[in-house]
Structure formats: structure tokens, C-alpha cells
């Protein structure tokens, strides 16, 4: 029944649309269509010379062809194809055939036979190649037709013996894209094609043309991508290709070897010129390592990248990549890294003061030294020293991936990464710092390593310094001297670059909480306390002193003996900092004092579950309110919202969840309030005030729903439906309010229609979710749809009003993870009393530094808004490069905003804030719709649907004092 009704809806609906002007115009276009192919025919017949014909075809190719007329056009083109003597025209026709068969909705199987037939008598190699390309397009358009594919593959095999590389190239490409993937299918099909596709392709690994060789390897990779399991026999062939003369071939061969090594990691291959055997993945690893010193940098990049993903390789091989086996005058030599390690372990801490410190030690047996065929030997040493930074970056990335899977390797590659901090290209330095951060969980830094690492803190690039702070946050230091060293260097950094304050404090917070026992013996020294004498009280506003305190307090959190070492003023400072910098200073259990805030207990973990429970319980309660009286419902909602908001403040992990639900309940509350207004019973114009309240409520609900949809990361489609549903209700409310307040029916027509369209698009977008929405507003509405469509606006309004009242409140399911997007402007601080002076008419650059959390795609969505005192607002799109990504879910915006204004008589404040832009068209809902339905409905969607764009402010505004001076004459 429901289905029938929906069908009715569609019928009625399309009727309405057809009356619109736009559709008429498309109809007109269609009328001219049949004549289009005819016109082409006439044109081609008229053409006196091949050049003319080519011109006609080129013109024709510029215009799109409708689905219905494609076949006709193809026939005409083919007809001319047979008549045409000029190869270039035939080539164009062949390419047009390919273009035409790409037309959406056209099934090219009807023209396939003709296309294959054209191949028979074709002499020109270029045209042949183009025709094969067309066949490839046709074949890819018909994925569910194995026999067609088989036929095409057969055709391609036939042309593999062509003397032109272009034709063979295309044939291989076609076989790669269309060749049978399952063995079974191939066997039951006809005799010819039953031949092994892999065999056919691998025969061309030795083709004389490098382009064909490349195409053959690519085709093989294509087959692999389509799910065919490649045979291991190819491996030895691929290895030979690594020595090819041409870089494209080598590059593709490296990929092929990698694929094979992932397919058959454990099979055994013999080592040539010896009796030994090794695992295939090790052999492949050695070979790819070898390619890291290839002559072409493209191959080197390729090889270095692939090395990272070969995690099954045995550790023995892996560690060789970092060992170049140094020697000097045939004597074994230790690397600087080894020497440093030895010096460190022998307790001496000065390096290389003597000449000959690096003097080579034992003699090497000349026979045992392999200079080049040592496989993996030193591959990364070479890669990291490469001339091109692309190779170096690839090598660093590979190191990172391999180190993450092997702790012992991580330990070994540490020295090399530290060396990369000195690279000449900043990108490489940054990348290696990030890499180090990623693997730092596995490793403990030696003091000398820490020393070199800390030296980078003086770098003038802010990105590098901040990356290094991030790194220090998660490093393990082994000794108390190390901690001291780190602190000293960080303080040095602080004096040199005061803007790094926040980041340094944060870094020290983690450093302290990670190494409480190492900090403990340092405390007297750091606080400069003395057993007998009182020392002067340090300046509380000194950032360096705060930094020291942050380190100590965080260490004290898990070290109860530490507070005993504090002097009196330290406790006072603690209380102050706990309030002013609560995100950096943890709550401490201090002797003789209560906990500063009793709500937040020091150990959060055991309380996590209860608060989550509380959240769910309160929601549960709300969803069961149906049998309460209206007053009770309102009160319950209000209380719950209050509870949730408080919960969000207290529990940062649940903040997103709590806010999200609170907002939803708020919407519901507004809706209920609006519906309970008295105005519904009385003639509209008398109650303008209440009316204002209701329409304001509708407006606010709309805004809140946009916030819910776009400001939270982790929202799933289940939530999106509910949000859209709420929005729909708000729109219904709006409609009702307007219907009540406006005289005359005329404007209502349009509004009703729009609303119905929205209902319809809602239904189409969320058709799969509708069953879960029993008894909801939409559910009821869709049942009434046939009536709505036919009835007059006033009736519609009436129906809407009753459904809105009767509909049930939908249960909002909560996703696993929900985070609210937040932004915090660090700079400008808004505290300055000194106005920023500049000459009017000129621009001044305002530095903005902000942290963004849980913003998806900040490059596209985050905007800066500047509000001038005269109400003028300016919206600035920061450059994509201004966003940095220091960690998952976090972004940093460092940008400059250009301000300008006409002269003012006195300084005044402007407001700067960050906005989150959204576009309902790109909403999460629409991206989830399966492609097919979308493309069909795309044309039918009215344009008004497409573009509700807006912005949500999501940061606190910051006031900046500025003063545009009049220009001096």
C-alpha cells in the first residue's frame, strides 16, 4: 500500500515540475536532437576534402550527445569510416566512437560488433591503436558480460603481433583491463581465450620496445589489482627487468616485484651463483634496496617508497639497510654512530678531540668484501644521502613505517633520523621529526642523541620547533641529566623565541608526567631551595619560572614525596597556576590542603563509566516522557539539558556527546514550546508577540540543526537523519507560522510547494532509514502525502499542524565517538592596550594563530571573520598552506589577515573570530547516497535545494585595538 502511495506521490510530483519553465526548455532541446545526427551526416557528405571532414568532426565533438541518439550517431560515423581514405579522419572517428560509448546511460554492446569489424581491414597503426582504445572503453562499460570481454581479449591477442608499438601497447592495456580474472571462467569459455592471460602478457616482457615492456608490466599490475593472483614464475622475469635500460620499465618492474613479494613472501628462491636459498620477500627486499641507488631518481623514489611497506622482511635483512660496512684502506672502520655509542657507554662524554679518533681498526679479508652485490647493504644510508629531496623524504617515510613494526629497527634507525634533522631542505627536516615522534614510543633516547636533538630547538623555523616540542612530549629519557638538559634547552628556546611559550609549557607538562622519578632529584636545584636559608621568591609572571613549575607539578602528580620539597611560596604559586593555567597544572593531593576542586577527582578513569551511564540514563528518561503532562515534559527537558551541559563541562571526553544531545533536546524543547503557544487558537494578527516567539524558535531550531550536522565530527548517517528530520519539523513550523500571519493565499502556494519538495527529497535521501522512524512526523506526513499534494495550501497547513503535534519525539542514537569542533584563538590575545596604528587606505597585517580541534577538512571550511565597529564584516579564506596538522584531529592555523579602513578619530576595537562554513549540498547525507540514485535525481532537484550555505561561529571572538590614522600630506 505504502509503495503504491509513494508511486502516486512521484506521479503527482513530476506533473508539478513539468509545468516549470526550465523543463520546457529542455524539451525544446530534445526536439532538435534527431536532426543532430542527421546534420552530421549531411556535413560529412558535404565535406570535399579530408581536412573539411576533420573540421566537422572536431566541431561535432565539442557538443554533448544525448543518450538516445548515440547509437544513430555511431552508425553514421561508422558508415563514413568505411568510406574514408584519409587516416587522420578515421583516427578522429575512432576516437569519437570511444567518447560516444562513454556517454552515461548508453550501453555500447550494440556497437561492439561493428567496432570489432572495423579492425579487420585497418592498415594504419595509429587508427588501429585508437580503435583498440575504443574497444577498451566499450569493454569497461560492460563489466557484467564475460563473453564480450573474452571476445575483446581475443581480438587484442590477435593484434599483439603488430609491428607498431602503439598497437601492442593498447592490446596489452586492454588485456590487462579486461582479461579474465577467475581461472574457471577462462576455461569454460572458448578455446583461444582460454590461454593463460598471464602467459600472453609475460611474453611481452622481452619486447623490443621499452614502451611495450612498460605496458606489459602495467597490464600485469592491472590484473593484480583486479584480483587475479599472479604466478610466482613471473618473479624471475621481473627481476631481469630491473636491469632494463629504460627507467619507466625499471620503475614498473620494481612495483611488480613488490606485488609478488607481498603475494608469496614465504616461498623460497635460490640465490644465483651459490647453493643457498632465501625467502622471496627477503630476496625482493634486497633487489628493491639495490634500486635505491639506481641511476634515475624516479626509480629511486619508487623503490624507497615501496621499501616501507615490506614489513614481512626478516630483521637480519632489515638491519643491513642501515649498515654500509665502512672500511678505510681495507680495514674495518666504525661509523660515527658506533663511536658515539661506545663513548657514551664507556662514560666519557667528549667526542673526536683527537685526530685519528676514527682510525680504522682490524684488517678486512679482501675476499669477503662485497662492494655492490651486497643487496640490502646500506640502502637507507644511500637513500637518506640522496641528491634529490624527493628520494630522501621517501626514505624517511619508509624508515618510519618499518620502524613502527620493528622496535629493534627503530632503535637502530634513530641515529640516522637524528642526522636528518640537519638536512638542507626544511620539509625533510620536518618529516624526520614527525617520523621520530611516531616511533618514539618504542625507544629511549641516549644522552648524546638527546643532545643533538635538542640542538634543533634553536631553529628559526617555527614549524620545526613546534614539531620538536611535540616530539619531546612523547620521548623517553633515560637519565636525570637528560631531563635537566632538555629543560635547560627549552628555557633557552623560550628566551630566544618567546612566542613558543604555550608549546614549551605543554611539552614540559608531558615531560614531567612521563618521568616523575627523574625529576624528583632535580627539584631542589630547579626551585633553588636551600636546606637552611630562605631563597628569594621568584617572579610569578616569568614564563621560564612557570615552565619549571609546570614540569615539577606534573611530575608531582604521580610522585607523592615531591611536595615535601616545596617551599611555602611554591604552594601559593601552585594554587595560582592551578586556576590560571588549569590545562597545564594537574590537581595535586597536597599535605594539609583540600583538593582545590573537589568535583574533578584526581583519578578520572574509574569515574568514566558512571558519567557515561548518567548520560544514557538521563536520555532514557527523556525519551520516555510521552505520558507526562506538557508542563512536566518541559521541565524535564530543561533539567536534562542543564545536566548535560554541566556534564560536558566536567568530563572533557564526553563533552562532544553531551553537547550534541543537549542541543538536540534544546531543539525539541523549543519545538514543544512553540507548539504550545496560544496563538494557534486565535486569529493570527492579534498575537504578533507570541508569533514572534514561535518564528524565532523555528529559526533557532534551524540554526541548531546546522550546527549539529556540521560542527561535530563522527556524526553518522543515523544521526544525520534525525537532524534532517528536526530541520523538516522546523520548516513545517515556519510554514505554519507564516500561514497564520500573512494574509492572502498567493505566497503560500510557493512555500507549500517548496516544503513538499523538501519532504520528497528527504524521503529519497533517507529511504533506507524510514523504517526506523515509525510514528514520527515524516512517517505520518508521507502517509498523508497524496492528500497534501492535492489539497489547497490552507488545508496543508492545517494537516501539518496536527501532524506536528501528534508526532512522536525521535530517539537520538549516539555514535561511538563524537567531538565538537572547537577553535581557540591564541594570537591576538586581545589584551593589548596599544592600538595597532596604520595609515588609512593602506593595509596592516594581523597575525592570527589559532588551534582547531576536530575540524574536518579545515582548508575548505574554516574562515576568518573580521567585524569592524561600523558593522562592516569581512570574510577571509586562509590559504591551504596556513593550516598545519600537528596531530590527529588537531589543526593549527597560522595566518595573516589584512586589515584596512578609512581614517578614524580614535582607536577602536575590531572583532576577529573563526567561522565554520558549511554547504548543505555537500552535507554528509548527500555523500552517502549511492551514486546511481543521485545521478538520476540530480536533474530533478530544484536549484533552491543545492545551495544553503552558511557559517557557524565556533570560536570566541577576540578584540583587537586598531587605529587607522589619516594619511599625512
Amino acid at each position: 500500500m505504502a509503495a503504491h502511495l509513494k508511486k502516486r506521490v512521484y506521479e503527482e510530483f513530476t506533473k508539478v515540475v513539468q509545468q516549470q519553465h526550465e523543463d520546457l526548455s529542455t524539451k525544446k532541446l530534445r526536439l532538435t536532437k534527431p536532426s543532430k545526427s542527421a546534420a552530421l551526416h549531411v556535413d560529412l557528405c558535404k565535406a570535399t576534402s579530408p581536412a573539411d571532414a576533420l573540421q566537422y568532426l572536431l566541431q561535432f565533438a565539442r557538443k554533448p550527445v544525448e543518450v538516445e541518439s548515440v547509437e544513430g550517431v555511431v552508425r553514421i560515423l561508422l558508415e563514413h569510416y568505411y568510406k574514408e581514405n584519409d587516416a587522420s579522419v578515421r583516427l578522429k572517428i575512432a576516437s569519437l566512437l570511444g567518447l560516444l560509448s562513454k556517454t552515461a546511460g548508453f550501453s555500447p554492446d550494440c556497437i561492439m560488433d561493428d567496432a570489432i569489424n572495423t579492425l579487420q581491414n585497418e592498415k594504419s597503426h595509429q587508427v588501429l591503436a585508437q580503435l583498440l582504445d575504443t574497444l577498451l572503453v566499450i569493454g569497461t562499460k560492460l563489466p557484467e558480460n564475460p563473453s564480450v570481454r573474452m571476445r575483446l581479449v581475443e581480438v587484442a591477442c590477435k593484434h599483439l603481433t603488430d609491428s607498431s608499438h602503439g598497437v601492442r601497447n593498447k592490446c596489452l592495456q586492454l588485456i590487462g583491463c579486461l582479461g579474465p580474472v577467475e581461472k574457471g571462467v577462462a576455461k569454460e569459455a572458448e578455446s583461444q581465450a582460454a590461454k593463460d592471460v598471464q602467459k600472453i602478457i609475460s611474453d611481452h616482457f622481452n619486447d623490443q620496445d621499452p614502451r611495450v615492456r612498460t605496458a606489459a608490466i602495467k597490464a600485469m599490475l592491472q590484473l593484480h589489482e583486479r584480483g587475479l593472483k599472479l604466478q610466482q614464475a613471473i618473479y624471475s622475469q621481473a627481476c631481469k627487468l630491473l636491469a632494463d635500460d629504460y627507467e619507466q620499465v625499471r620503475s614498473a618492474a620494481v612495483q611488480l616485484i613488490w606485488v609478488l613479494s607481498q603475494l608469496y613472501p614465504e616461498s623460497i628462491v635460490p640465490i644465483p651463483s651459490s647453493n643457498e636459498e632465501i625467502r622471496l620477500v627477503d630476496d625482493a627486499f634486497g633487489k628493491i634496496c639495490h634500486m635505491v641507488s639506481d641511476g634515475s631518481w624516479v626509480v629511486r623514489v619508487q623503490a624507497a617508497k615501496l621499501l616501507g611497506s615490506m614489513q614481512q622482511v626478516s630483521s637480519h635483512f632489515l638491519e643491513q639497510t642501515l649498515d654500509k660496512k665502512l672500511m678505510s684502506d681495507l680495514r674495518r672502520k666504525r661509523t660515527a654512530h658506533e663511536r658515539a655509542k661506545e663513548l657514551y657507554s664507556s662514560g666519557e662524554f667528549s667526542s673526536g678531540r683527537k685526530w685519528g679518533d676514527d682510525a680504522p681498526k682490524e684488517e678486512i679479508d679482501t675476499g669477503a668484501v662485497n662492494l655492490i652485490e651486497s643487496g640490502a647493504c646500506g640502502a637507507f644510508v644511500h637513500g637518506l644521502e640522496d641528491e634529490m629531496y624527493e628520494v630522501r623524504i621517501a626514505a624517511v617515510e619508509a624508515l618510519c613505517m618499518l620502524a613502527q613494526s620493528s622496535p629493534s629497527f627503530a632503535e637502530k634507525c634513530l641515529d640516522f633520523l637524528v642526522d636528518m634533522f640537519n638536512d638542507e631542505i626544511e620539509e625533510v627536516r620536518l618529516q624526520s621529526i614527525h617520523t621520530m615522534r611516531k616511533i618514539s614510543n618504542n625507544i629511549t633516547l641516549r644522552e648524546d642523541q638527546l643532545d643533538t636533538l635538542l640542538a634543533v630547538l634553536e631553529d628559526s623555523s617555527r614549524d620545526i620547533r613546534e614539531a620538536l616540542h611535540e616530539l619531546l612530549c612523547c620521548t623517553n629519557v633515560s637519565t636525570k641529566e637528560g631531563i635537566h638538559l632538555a629543560l635547560v634547552e627549552l628555557l633557552k628556546n623560550l628566551t630566544k623565541y618567546p612566542t613558543d611559550r604555550e608549546s614549551i609549557w605543554k611539552c614540559l607538562k608531558f615531560l614531567g608526567s612521563r618521568h616523575p622519578t627523574l625529576v624528583l632529584p632535580l627539584v631542589p636545584e630547579l626551585l633553588s631551595t636551600h636546606p637552611f636559608f630562605d631563597t628569594p621568591e621568584p617572579d610569578m609572571d616569568d614564563p621560564a619560572y612557570i615552565a619549571v613549575l609546570v614540569l615539577i607539578f606534573n611530575a608531582a602528580k604521580s610522585c607523592p614525596t615531591m611536595p615535601a620539597l616545596f617551599s611555602d611560596h611554591t604552594f601559593r604559586h601552585y594554587a595560582y597556576l592551578r586556576d590560571s593555567l588549569s590545562h597545564l597544572v594537574p590537581p595535586l593531593r597536597l599535605p594539609g590542603r583540600k583538593l582545590v576542586s573537589s568535583v574533578v577527582s584526581p583519578s578520572i578513569t574509574p569515574h568514566e563509566d558512571p558519567s557515561q551511564q548518567f548520560l544514557h540514563q538521563s536520555l532514557e528518561r527523556v525519551y520516555n516522557f510521552q505520558h507526562l503532562d506538557p508542563q512536566g515534559i518541559q521541565e524535564l527537558l530543561e533539567f536534562t539539558i542543564r545536566d548535560l551541559q554541566r556534564l560536558g563541562e566536567l568530563q572533557s571526553e564526553l563533552a562532544g556527546m553531551a553537547d550534541f544531545t543537549a542541543t538536540y533536546l534544546q531543539c525539541q524543547l523549543l519545538l514543544i514550546k512553540a507548539l504550545q503557544e496560544k496563538l494557534w487558537n486565535v486569529a493570527a494578527p492579534l498575537y504578533l508577540k507570541q508569533n514572534a516567539l514561535a518564528s524565532a524558535a523555528a529559526k533557532q531550531i534551524l540554526e541548531e540543526t546546522y550546527k549539529m550536522e556540521f560542527m561535530y565530527s563522527g556524526v553518522e548517517s543515523r544521526q544525520v537523519v534525525i537532524i534532517h528530520h528536526m530541520r523538516l519539523q522546523a520548516k513545517a513550523l515556519q510554514l505554519i507560522v507564516t500561514a497564520r500571519t500573512t494574509r492572502g493565499v498567493e505566497p503560500l502556494f510557493g512555500m507549500c510547494e517548496k516544503f513538499l519538495q523538501e519532504v520528497d527529497s528527504f524521503q529519497r535521501c533517507f529511504i533506507s532509514e524510514l523504517p526506523h522512524m515509525q510514528g514520527s512526523f515524516v512517517d505520518k506526513l508521507l502517509d498523508l502525502m497524496p492528500r497534501l499534494v492535492t489539497s489547497k495550501p490552507l488545508e496543508v497547513v492545517k494537516i501539518l499542524q496536527t501532524t506536528l503535534r501528534q508526532s512522536t519525539f525521535l530517539h537520538l542514537p549516539l555514535p561511538e565517538q563524537l567531538h565538537r569542533a572547537t577553535a581557540n584563538i591564541i594570537e591576538p590575545t586581545g589584551e593589548s592596550d596599544n592600538p595597532l596604528r596604520f595609515t588609512s587606505g593602506l593595509v596592516v597585517a594581523l597575525d592570527i594563530d589559532a588551534t582547531l580541534e576536530h575540524v574536518q577538512d579545515p582548508q575548505g571550511t574554516v574562515k576568518v571573520q573580521v567585524l569592524y565597529p561600523d558593522g562592516q564584516a569581512q570574510l577571509i579564506h586562509p590559504k591551504p598552506a596556513d593550516f598545519r596538522n600537528p596531530g590527529p584531529g588537531r589543526h593549527r592555523l597560522i595566518t595573516q589577515v589584512y586589515l584596512s579602513h578609512t581614517a578614524w578619530t580614535e582607536p577602536c576595537q575590531i572583532e576577529v573570530r573563526l567561522l565554520l562554513a558549511y554547504n548543505s549540498n555537500k552535507s554528509k547525507a548527500s555523500t552517502r547516497i549511492p551514486k546511481s540514485t543521485w545521478s538520476e535525481s540530480l536533474e530533478a532537484l530544484p536549484p533552491s535545494e543545492n545551495g544553503i550555505e552558511g557559517t557557524i561561529p565556533f570560536s570566541k571572538p577576540v578584540k583587537v585595538y586598531i587605529m587607522p590614522k589619516p594619511a599625512r600630506r
Binding site: 684502506d329 660515527a336 685526530w355 655492490i372 652485490e373 637518506l384 638542507e424
Partner: protein
């Protein structure tokens, strides 16, 4: 028999005085023309009398190639061209051509003005010599004459250093000069394509060394300088004017920039300033970083490095000074050293090797009290550091280059005999190519397989390639035809055409062979048996039984007659033309084995 003859005038199993004479397909090329730093007599220049005994140099040599501007590779050039007398072309890259005369002039000044030698080349001679130089670009193929062509490849090492490929017909030689396979702060790595020369002449300075990564050394260097400067000490870095000095400058300059340091860096001597100018100019010869960023800022326009003045040495506070010469044996570097040696806060960093007897060598070997001129005793309290920054390929680098170029033979020069021996053995073992290491004055002959181009008519080519599988460019293919040698040109033509052109009548050559078969049956039955037998075996050939009682296999005729004496023995007569030799001999051997016993 053709070959490449290679004769080393210097630099065979020796460092310094590079000079190699290569004779390839009748063309004589001289590679480098260097001098030996260690000698002050006639031995400093290569012995050209070997060449001059055959007449004038210009007549004998087709060209001279200079790989880079170091004096051990170009120092003898004015002597060679102006004093011995050579007027042919001299090839070098643009930067080499620019910097080479500066160094030669400097060298001349030191020998003539300071040491007071006579019978040395003059400034005018240097100028005249440079007029004979033809500058080449990287990868540019220069046609020296109709047959001889040369091509330059990037070699790293110093600015403008190049490897040269010398090619005559299809025989070729690659000469590397000095090269570096690892990039440094200002130059890239040497690169060559797979040119498969007949001979690769490579330097082998570090034949037995595999070096550590450059990064450790750089980091160490920077750390030492940084620490000293932070302590308020002064750093002295004695350098030679060109090459490493620029690398260290870039290194310090970028470090200063990165770390936002303020201490001044000074650079002494005018020569370096002049050379720096050329470094700024030849950006395309530098490494990736400098090439990519020079639009914003040329890295050689130093912000932090200023010219040094004598008076600065007494300034208080930290500073870094680059001063020449590199071994602290004389000049400005020694003066500064004497001033600073007494303070333990200061530091001297020796970036290269020091010859025995120099102050540099003494302090490096740990001597703390030095005797200066005038019986003064100088106590060295400052720290002494050694850092090796070398720009030669190590053993791995040499092997890598050989792998890239894939030569058929390798010849090692510019290294010590003992070390070369090791590398030679390695090369032969890993690449299976023969390797040579001639001593000075020794001639090495390398046999080559020169290809001789032959014209072939298109018709014949198409006909021949149509037979058999697709042609493979990498594999040789057998073709049938007649080679015509006429007026110094070779042509491959079809036999018919050859006959026609030469006006000869065609003769046919037939082989006949008799095979005896024991078969008591009648002749025609034997024939039938033979026919069936052959038909069974030769399925791909047309075997016919002719009415006159003979069998044809393709064009081979088989007839059977009874033996005149013994009727039980049949004589099979097999006859074929020489074109069918293969099939014919196969048939006879087949028939000689006899017929299968089972007969119906």
C-alpha cells in the same frame, strides 16, 4: 683487429699529474694535462716527448679534454700548448674555462714571483692558451671532426667537473676525471647513462674505502663550531681557496640562518671572492636545493659571511674565519693561528689532509709546543679538530658508476697501486669485465669489436625480417645476402642483384651423396618405404613421391637404384643445392640411420 690504446703520461697508479693519451679508432685524444704538486723540477709536468717523437703535437693529437680545474688536471696546460706547442682544440666545461685561468695565474705567481723560477709560462701564455679552449655544455654532443665526438656528463667533485665520453663510430671511451657519487651541500652527485663504453677510465683515489654518511661529519662540524662560538671562542678553519671552502661556507651560512646566530663569519683572500663570483654564476651546475631556491635567493650571496681584514683577528668576541692556505704552512691562516693559539676557548678545524712537515700536520698529530721561525716557542692551547670532507667517490661509488655505465673494460688511474689491486679484483669478480691498471708510461691495448655499418636495401631487409619471429632489437639476427665491397662502402644486397651488378652468371652448386641401405625388396618398394618414412618424420615439409620413382623433399631429390653387385643393397642418391645444405645434411644423416624395421 681494432682497439683502444691507452697510454698514461702521468696519473697511472699515482695521484697528481693526470695525463692520459687515448687512441681510439685512429683518433688520438689527450685526457687532462695536469701537474704534480710534489716536484719543482721537470718532473712536475708530464713527459710529452713520447708524443713529440712522432712530430708536432698538433698533427698527432685530435683534441685535448680537461675534466676540471684542479691543477693536477690542468696545471700543465699552458706549458703544453704554448711552450711545447699545440694548436688544436682544447675542450672543457664553461665553469672550468672560467675558473681555470685564475688558478693558473695564481700558480704562476707563486712559482715565478715568490720562488723566483725562470723558464716558466707567462700570463700572456695562459691567455693565449685559453683562447684555444672550446667550452661545452653538459650532455652536449660536440663533433670534434667528422668521426670523433665527445659528450660531457656531470661529475660532482668541484664546480664544473665533468666526465667525458669520447666516441668514434661505435667505439667509445668514458673518462671520469675526478668525481663524487654522494651529493654535498653545493654540488650534486655524478651521473652517467647506460652508454656501455668499450673502456671506462676511472679515478680510484679511494679504492679501498667505504665512507660513512656525510651527515654525521656535517653535524659534528656544526656542533663543534656552534659550541665554540657560544662559549665566546674563535674558530679558525684553514682551507684551500676553491672546492671544499665553498661547501663549508654554504654549510655554515645555512646553519647560521637556521639557528639565527649572530657571530660574524669571515672569509679571507681575494682569490676566493673571485671564485665565489663564478659559483654564483653557474647555478645550473650546483645541487638541487641551490638550483631550486636561487630565484628567491642565490645561496652563494652570503648574508653572514663577510670579507676578512687583517685587523679583525684582534677583535674581541666570537667569530669564525676561513683562511688560506689549508695546511697552515704559510700565509694568513698561519698568522691567525699564531694569534689565537694561546687561548683554550678557541678552536682550529682542519678540514682536510695535511702533508708531513706542515704546522697542520704537527698539531694534528698532537704536538702542543711548536717551534716557529726565530726560535720562538708557540704553545698551542686551542682545541684542534680534524674533519675530513672529501669529494672523491669511494669504492662503493666507483662500483656504482661502473654499474650505471656498464663498460666492457675498466681502466683504473689516479690512485695508489696497492689499493687499485683490490678494486681491480673486485671489479673483475662482480662485473666480469676485464680491468687494467697501467703504470706511468705503460700502454694498455684493449681489443674491441668494432661494428662496421653496412647498407642494406629495404626490400631485402623486409624480406629477411619477415622470416621467423618478430625482430628483437637487442639480439643479433642472421640474414642471408651478398656483401658487396665497392669504393670504400659496404652494401648487403640479394644474390640476384649482386650477380646482376657484377655481371656474373649464376652457378649452381649441388651436393650429392649416396646412402647404402640393406633392403632386399624391389626398388620401387624401397622408394615407397623411404617415402613413408620421411613423410612420417618431416611433417612440416612437403614430401612428394614423383611418378618417375624419385622423392622430393622441398627441393631435395632422392633416387634409389639397386647396387650393381649386391641386389640386396639399395643405393639412395640424395642431391641438394647448397642453399638447402642444412636440410640436405639432415636428410642424409637420417637415411644413414636406416629405415625402421617394421614394414607392413
Amino acid at each position: 683487429v681494432s682497439g683502444v690504446f691507452c697510454w698514461g703520461a702521468g696519473a697511472g697508479q699515482d695521484v697528481g699529474r693526470s695525463c692520459i693519451l687515448v687512441s681510439i679508432a685512429g683518433k688520438n685524444v689527450m685526457l687532462d694535462c695536469g701537474m704534480h704538486m710534489g716536484y719543482n723540477d721537470d718532473r712536475r709536468f708530464p713527459d710529452f716527448s713520447y708524443i713529440t717523437q712522432n712530430g708536432r703535437l698538433t698533427d698527432f693529437l685530435d683534441c685535448v679534454i680537461i675534466s676540471h680545474f684542479h691543477l693536477d688536471h690542468c696545471g700543465a696546460l699552458p706549458y703544453f700548448s704554448e711552450m711545447v706547442g699545440y694548436d688544436g682544440p682544447i675542450y672543457m666545461t664553461h665553469p672550468t674555462k672560467a675558473i681555470c685561468p685564475i688558478l693558473l695565474e695564481d700558480y704562476r705567481k707563486i712559482t715565478v714571483d715568490k720562488k723566483g723560477e725562470t723558464n716558466f709560462f707567462t700570463s700572456q701564455m695562459i691567455k693565449d692558451c685559453m683562447k684555444k679552449v672550446v667550452a661545452v655544455h653538459l650532455h652536449q654532443t660536440v663533433q670534434v671532426d667528422e668521426e670523433l665526438e665527445i659528450k660531457a656528463y656531470y661529475a660532482g667533485h668541484v664546480l664544473g667537473a665533468a666526465m667525458f665520453q669520447i666516441k668514434v663510430g661505435c667505439e667509445s671511451v668514458v673518462y671520469t676525471g675526478d668525481y663524487n657519487m654522494t651529493p654535498d651541500r653545493h654540488l650534486g652527485a655524478a651521473w652517467i647513462d647506460k652508454c656501455r663504453p668499450d673502456l671506462l677510465i676511472t679515478e680510484s683515489t679511494y679504492a679501498t674505502t667505504i665512507r660513512d654518511s656525510k651527515r654525521c661529519r656535517e653535524r659534528d662540524f656544526l656542533k663543534k663550531v656552534h659550541e665554540t662560538v657560544e662559549r665566546g671562542g674563535k674558530v679558525l678553519i684553514p682551507v684551500f681557496a676553491l672546492g671544499r671552502a665553498q661547501e663549508l661556507c654554504i654549510l655554515l651560512e645555512t646553519f647560521w640562518e637556521r639557528m639565527n646566530l649572530k657571530a660574524p663569519i669571515y672569509f679571507s683572500t681575494g682569490l676566493t671572492e673571485k671564485a665565489n663570483h663564478y659559483y654564483k654564476l653557474f647555478i645550473t651546475w650546483t645541487n638541487q636545493k641551490i638550483r631550486k631556491t636561487f630565484v628567491q635567493r642565490n645561496m652563494f650571496e652570503f648574508k653572514h659571511i663577510k670579507a676578512f681584514d687583517r685587523a679583525f683577528a684582534d677583535n674581541p668576541g666570537p667569530m669564525v674565519v676561513f683562511a688560506t692556505p689549508g695546511m697552515l704552512h704559510a700565509g694568513q691562516s698561519l698568522q691567525i693561528f699564531r694569534k689565537w693559539a694561546g687561548n683554550e676557548k678557541n678552536m682550529v678545524i682542519m678540514p682536510g689532509y695535511c702533508v708531513q712537515g706542515t704546522v697542520g700536520h704537527k698539531i694534528l698529530s698532537g704536538q702542543r709546543k711548536l717551534e716557529m721561525e726565530g726560535r720562538q716557542i708557540l704553545e698551542v692551547k686551542m682545541q684542534v679538530e680534524y674533519m675530513s670532507f672529501s669529494a672523491h667517490a669511494d669504492a662503493k661509488g666507483i662500483m656504482q658508476l661502473i654499474r650505471q655505465a656498464e663498460p666492457r673494460n675498466v681502466l683504473l688511474v689516479h690512485g695508489e697501486a696497492k689499493k687499485m689491486e683490490f678494486l681491480k679484483q673486485k671489479i673483475e669478480q662482480e662485473f666480469h669485465v676485464s680491468c687494467y691498471m697501467p703504470a706511468n708510461g705503460e700502454t694498455t691495448t684493449i681489443l674491441t669489436n668494432p661494428c662496421i655499418p653496412v647498407d642494406i636495401s629495404l626490400g631485402l631487409l623486409k624480406r629477411e625480417t619477415a622470416i621467423g619471429p618478430l625482430p628483437d632489437a637487442k639480439k643479433p639476427k642472421l640474414m642471408h645476402g651478398t656483401l658487396l665491397m665497392k669504393d670504400n662502402s659496404f652494401r648487403l644486397v640479394s644474390p640476384e642483384q649482386a650477380l646482376k651488378e657484377l655481371g656474373l652468371a649464376e652457378h649452381q652448386l649441388r651436393f650429392t651423396c649416396r646412402v647404402h641401405i640393406q633392403d632386399p625388396r624391389k626398388e620401387h618398394e624401397t622408394v615407397l618405404r623411404v617415402y613413408n618414412h620421411l613423410k612420417g618424420i618431416l611433417k612440416d615439409y612437403s614430401v612428394q613421391h614423383l611418378p618417375d620413382g624419385s622423392i622430393t623433399v622441398e627441393s631435395i631429390l632422392i633416387q634409389a637404384t639397386a647396387h650393381s653387385e649386391d641386389q640386396g643393397t639399395k643405393v639412395l642418391l640424395v642431391s641438394w643445392t647448397y642453399q638447402d645444405e642444412e636440410l640436405g645434411s639432415y636428410l642424409t644423416s637420417l637415411l644413414k640411420k636406416g629405415l625402421p624395421q617394421s614394414t607392413p
